[in-house]
């Protein structure tokens, strides 16, 4: 599982081919909610990359050395959600003390990610697909990069869309969903990549 070639394939497939938002519908809420401006979308994307990579590492270690060691794998859902919630709070406190400039940039977005279904989704997928810890981290990172790519593209489209004349009933969320649908069609094109 852990040869470099396989990890590279995993990187591409998790970020582009089975994009977390556009083909798996995880993390839809921030995708639709924080994509009004490119700047905030980039901030959110960075925070998501940071948290998901860290969370998949921690969840992987806990799964292997605690849950599996004691034979209580069925507790994974409960343990993962609590670990992620605690981790996000811890990261926030750490950043505030140690790296104020990074905290300035990510701080607002961190609390929003706690129960983001993408974070829990990645941790659970890693277990389901029986990735090792390293492959799990790569998968988490790639998934988050895929999220960032799609949220930044959507934000760019939405900034342009401000000036368009949209039918009244379709203003706001519906037109954003249509845009996301068109993006999903475009991302379907990646499925021939591997």
């Amino acid at each position: 599982m852990d040869s470099v070639k396989e990890l590279l394939i995993l990187l591409i497939s998790s970020s582009l081919v089975s994009n977390v938002v556009l083909s798996q519908f995880l993390g839809l809420c921030p995708f639709l909610g924080v994509s009004k401006k490119i700047k905030t979308a980039v901030g959110m994307g960075t925070a998501v990359i940071f948290v998901i990579t860290l969370a998949s590492a921690v969840a992987g270690v806990i799964y292997k050395y605690v849950l599996q060691a004691f034979g209580v794998e069925y507790l994974q859902t409960i343990v993962f959600i609590l670990v992620i919630a605690a981790l996000v709070q811890f990261v926030e406190m750490f950043l505030r003390k140690a790296m104020p400039s990074l905290y300035e940039a990510l701080g607002v977005y961190l609390p929003l990610i706690t129960t983001n279904c993408a974070v829990l989704g990645v941790a659970l997928t890693n277990v389901q697909k029986e990735y090792g810890i390293l492959a799990g981290i790569v998968n988490g990172f790639a998934t988050a990069v895929g999220f960032t790519i799609s949220i930044v593209i959507l934000a760019g489209l939405r900034e342009k869309m401000e000036y368009n004349d949209v039918p009244k009933a379709f203003q706001g969320m519906p037109i954003v969903l249509i845009t996301a649908g068109l993006m999903a069609i475009a991302f379907c094109g990646f499925s021939g990549l591997l």
Binding site: C29, P30, G33, Q89, P111, L124, T125, K168
Partner: protein, 239 residues
């Protein structure tokens, strides 16, 4: 109307979680590739919702306000685990079809939303039926969306062919983009009804989620911000 039937009506029609409140959109899009999947997901969520609502309501006087969200999460996650194990044992086909979306019921904002806005303030029996009503409302919505997508995308409903042979299925509706288009039309319809209601002078603003925010425009996935509000403002039940 008795309290129980009032709760059921409220969940199914008046405050339908999908069509009116727009809560829990991730599973709504992901698992509605066919009517049967929508039905299965809806019933699973309904079971978790009803049970966790009841237990949270039983313990509502013991759970301190400050740690209520983690407490809710642990209760919800326990029920999700129980249900997942039951599905694995008795309906493995459904478990395979829904996959990772079953454990993800934990972060479905319908469940936390109902715990926050109803179960934490009301006695167990109404809370149980609030959960049943909301869960059934969610089930009906998911089954309908699933049936539409299945009909357009594969020409069948619940696996039975209903379209004439000459009908060419529009495959995109069972794929990811189709979900976005169906939801877009649904939201547009809701907007249209809202606009019409506003013109007629009706106030629709009372249709809200547990956190007093419009879920479709809320960046706060799973209402995570509540993890952090340590201020002990105990809201009065809004219902």
């Amino acid at each position: 109307m008795s309290k129980v039937t009032e709760r059921l009506y409220n969940g199914l029609v008046k405050e339908n979680p999908t069509f009116v409140l727009m809560l829990g959109m991730c599973p709504t899009l992901a698992v509605t590739t066919s009517a049967i999947n929508g039905l299965g997901m809806g019933l699973t969520t309904a079971a978790v919702l009803a049970l966790s609502n009841m237990i949270i309501s039983v313990f509502r006087k013991i759970i301190p306000n400050r740690v209520r969200i983690p407490a809710f999460i642990v209760i919800i996650a326990s029920f999700v685990t129980v249900i997942q194990l039951l599905l694995e044992a008795y309906i493995p086909a459904l478990n395979d079809a829904l996959g990772v979306y079953i454990p993800l019921i934990v972060v479905n904002c319908i469940i936390l939303g109902r715990a926050e806005s109803y179960a934490y303030f009301n006695p167990p029996i109404p809370s149980l039926f609030d959960g049943v009503g909301m869960g059934l409302g969610f089930t009906v919505a998911l089954t309908c969306i699933g049936a539409v997508r299945e009909l357009l995308g594969a020409g069948t409903i619940f696996g039975f062919g209903v379209m004439p042979d000459s009908y060419t299925p529009i495959g995109i509706f069972v794929l990811a983009p189709g979900a976005f288009f169906v939801l877009a039309c649904l939201t547009a319809l809701q907007n249209y009804i809202k606009l019409k209601g506003e013109k007629a002078g009706k106030d629709r603003s009372r249709f809200q989620s547990g956190c007093n925010e419009d879920c479709m425009n809320c960046s706060d996935s799973g209402c995570a911000r509540r993890f952090y509000d340590t201020g002990a403002e105990k809201k009065e039940g809004e219902n």
